[in-house]
């Protein structure tokens, strides 16, 4: 979910990250509601597309993404494998919190390989309203912690705004995300894998079409991102994917996409499953 979050250095940046988190937490407290969706209809960033909808995981639900997998291949032949186990919990009405632990394996060819954690991702997501004649609106904040051999050197925080608008023929989502902190010196080859994945900003649109009797969602997206690393050009990305409800608790997703511009054009595929369960409850 936070794979492309931009970051900022420790110290001042950590303070900014905490500030961003507190904004979300504060708004959650003012508006007593949170939710996160656990089914095929509730998309999550990266599952399978980067652009997500404005609805959280349901309150009191746990969504476990055990091993969502993503493979990228750049034009230069570098393979980037990543698995990011995630756990989201609907902690309040219309609000969920999430933690992700991405693990990457890079094969640059000629026997050059490396692997390790690319950071620890923490985030909070708060939906402001259910869609009426007003689109559904959500805000999110997250931080990438410098944990792992491939993680960025500093913590980086980001904020995000999300809109979802549903028409009878399709559903549209608009996401805009900004990462605090100064841009990193050097290109992709001079910064860690975790830092190279960070974006100064991301903006994009996704459209999906639901086949409700088959519990199937088909989506497409276009988004732009500016890498945090200086020297990397603006990237335009596009992708398509689907989400499918296997049974009331399991859903799976898969997607394929292409980085159209930027320093390293390439393609990616992704595949994952999610399992939903609730917390025990007693009167």
């Amino acid at each position: 979910m936070m794979r492309l979050l931009p970051c900022w250095p420790a110290g001042k940046n950590v303070a900014n990250a905490l500030l961003a988190m507190s904004v979300v937490a504060g708004s959650a407290g003012l508006t007593p509601a949170l939710a996160a969706q656990t089914d095929y209809y509730n998309t999550d960033a990266g599952r399978p597309l980067q652009i997500e909808d404005a609805y959280p995981v349901e309150r009191r639900a746990f969504e476990i993404q055990a091993a969502p997998f993503r493979l990228e291949r750049s034009r230069s032949g570098v393979y980037h494998w990543e698995i990011e186990p995630e756990l989201a919990y609907g902690i309040l009405p219309r609000t969920h919190v999430e933690v992700g632990v991405p693990f990457a394996f890079i094969d640059a060819g000629d026997g050059v390989r490396t692997s390790g954690l690319t950071g620890v991702h923490l985030s909070a997501f708060h939906n402001l309203n259910a869609e009426t004649s007003i689109p559904a609106i959500a805000i999110a904040a997250g931080v990438v912690l410098p944990v792992g051999s491939l993680a960025p050197d500093e913590a980086y925080a980001s904020v995000k705004g999300i809109l979802t608008r549903t028409f009878t023929w399709a559903r549209f989502h608009v996401n805009g995300e900004y990462t605090f902190g100064s841009r990193l010196e050097g290109g992709e080859g001079d910064v860690s894998i975790g830092a190279a994945e960070l974006s100064s900003w991301i903006g994009g649109v996704a459209v999906d079409r639901t086949f409700p009797l088959k519990a199937l969602l088909v989506s497409g997206e276009v988004y732009a991102r500016e890498p945090l690393a200086l020297g990397d050009g603006l990237e335009w990305n596009t992708g398509v994917g689907f989400r499918y409800q296997l049974d009331p608790r399991f859903n799976l997703d898969a997607g394929i996409g292409r980085r159209l511009t930027g320093d390293e054009p390439g393609w990616y595929i992704t595949f994952g499953t999610a399992y939903a369960l609730g917390l025990p409850w007693n009167r």
Binding site: Y41, R59, R165, P212, G278
Partner: protein, 526 residues
């Protein structure tokens, strides 16, 4: 070409996207809605009903589609001919969706897209109550829970349900006045009788399926009972709307064992089904302007949530449920005869009831039909203990509607007294009674008579005229029949009494394999 896109292009693209998102957005009536979803109660019995009774469970998924497409059609096609629902969508539902129902619960927001935007609060109320519905099936379908544990789990489910007062229906019974005597009422059933009957059929099965799960005690008998009840639902679709329920199925009538054991849940489900009808009426009634639909829906939702509006005592709710007539609601959900009972009121008739006693006071719309038409019930003894829906009905106090309401003459019950049967001498009567006694000496026949509400009512009406000895004998036989357990069926309520020895482990015998086609009988197949 894409390479030449700059940051400025990205900004313009983002602006375009935002413009699209906001298109047609906030008008004067837009309201900020903060309703939200909540996960079902996590428990070991989750999805037991789905695993044990697959066909019935999938049928409920199809029911969700039916409700959703109904609201979406009513809201998005206000000027469509009645055939859009009565023929096109009805045929799609009964010939496709119900025949091959979805395998997982549906995301209704993806079906009732415009309606979900109109009133997300009402949508959430329905979903929260449907979750309760399904979780109680899970509890009752479980072979691992003892009777006491089932009661405890249902109580826990109810508490969890009520922990969301923003979306929970009241567990106090509401009078039918709230459902069918509002300015917008009856629009749906009058314009779309087939579809309305289908919805009532849905509601009959949704509450009726609790009965076989409760009254049968073994996995095999529960499986067979569920199949029979599902098959009964299909039977209602044979001749729409003639064989469909003519009144909203009341849980206390259709599922008396369930309502007796879990009255709060039964009341919640009656309120749920009642509000389904209300929303249909609001959406279908052109006299409610489109810019008032949301406000009216939210008003009704509030009235169904609070514990004070249109509330009647529980005993009055039971009486009202009886007096509406189970034969008018599709009949009982277990122990039914081959044929569906004959309704005693015209389709969609509106009975009026005293809010404090539940006793019927008149008919606002519609009429009595068949055996009940023109009958003088003024001398009928009140017998609230009887399950006979019409017992105790005092039609002499009915405020029959004026001619313009029903298209019928006002009935003069006082002039319709029944005396001795004309043309029958005493020897014929004696022979008739002897034949009756001989027939009723048969246990199977007594069960059939007691299970058929019309026959049962006729017998009860006849008994006061019988010789004392015969009447005493008949009463004794009836008591014996009611007390004599049908194999595999529970006749008492052991829920409050601990078992002498709770089962130490689950039954060794594997539960019967669910039949994916269990109970399916597509329309037209006899």
């Amino acid at each position: 070409m894409i390479r030449i896109l700059s940051r400025g292009s990205a900004t313009r693209a983002a602006a375009l996207g935002l413009g699209l998102m906001m298109a047609g957005a906030p008008d004067a009536n837009a309201q900020w809605s903060t309703t939200h979803e909540q996960f079902y109660l996590q428990a070991p019995h989750n999805w037991t009903f789905r695993n044990r009774h697959q066909a019935a469970d999938r049928l409920f998924n199809a029911f969700d589609y039916g409700h959703a497409i109904l609201y979406e059609t009513l809201w998005t096609q206000p000027n469509a001919p009645a055939s859009a629902l009565e023929e096109k969508e009805y045929d799609n539902l009964t010939k496709k969706v119900l025949v091959k129902p979805p395998r997982v619960p549906l995301e209704e927001a993806a079906i009732e897209i415009a309606y979900a935007r109109l009133a997300p609060e009402a949508k959430t109320m329905f979903e929260w109550a449907h979750i309760l519905h399904r979780q109680i099936y899970d509890v009752l379908a479980s072979d691992r829970l003892s009777e006491q544990e089932k009661d405890a789990e249902v109580a826990r489910l109810l508490a969890y349900y009520k922990s969301r007062p923003d979306v929970a229906f009241s567990s106090h019974p509401k009078s039918m006045e709230l459902m069918q005597e509002q300015p917008y009422s009856l629009a749906f059933r009058q314009k779309y009788p087939k579809f309305n009957g289908l919805i009532w059929g849905y509601h009959w099965l949704q509450v009726g399926l609790y009965e076989p799960l409760l009254v049968y005690t073994t996995p095999e008998s529960r499986q067979a009972g569920v199949r029979a009840t599902v098959a009964r639902f299909w039977q209602m679709l044979d001749e729409p709307p003639r064989k469909m329920p003519h009144q909203m199925p009341m849980t206390a009538a259709v599922a008396p064992t369930f309502a007796s054991r879990y009255p709060e849940a039964a009341i919640i489900f009656d309120n749920l089904h009642s509000m389904h009808d209300v929303i249909s009426d609001i959406l279908a009634n052109p006299e409610v302007p489109r810019d008032r639909k949301r406000a009216e829906i939210l008003r009704a939702a509030q009235l169904y949530r609070d514990d004070v509006s249109y509330v009647m005592p529980v005993q009055a709710w039971l009486t009202m449920s009886e007096e509406m007539g189970i034969e008018n609601m599709g009949g009982p959900a277990v122990d039914f005869l081959t044929d569906l009972p004959t309704p005693t009121v015209s389709y969609g008739a509106v009975m009026q009831h005293d809010a404090q006693t539940g006793r019927m006071t008149g008919m606002k719309t519609g009429e009595m039909t068949g055996a009940m038409a023109g009958k003088d019930h003024s001398g009928m003894a009140a017998d609230s203990a009887s399950r006979d829906s019409m017992a105790g009905m005092d039609h002499s106090r009915m405020n029959m509607p004026p001619a313009q309401d029903t298209g019928r003459r006002t009935m003069d019950h006082a002039a319709m007294g029944h005396g001795a049967m004309p043309g029958m001498d005493s020897s014929s009567m004696a022979t008739m009674i002897a034949m009756h006694m001989r027939m009723m000496a048969d246990t199977g026949m007594r069960r059939h008579v007691l299970a058929d509400t019309v026959l049962r009512r006729m017998m009860l009406e006849m008994m006061p005229a019988m010789p004392d000895a015969h009447r005493d004998q008949m009463e004794q036989m009836m008591r014996d029949t009611l007390a004599y357990p049908v194999p595999g069926r529970r006749t008492s309520q052991p829920a409050q009494q601990p078992r002498a020895k709770p089962p130490a482990k689950p039954p060794v015998k594997a539960p019967p394999k669910p039949d994916p086609h269990a109970g399916h009988k597509p329309p037209g197949v006899r």
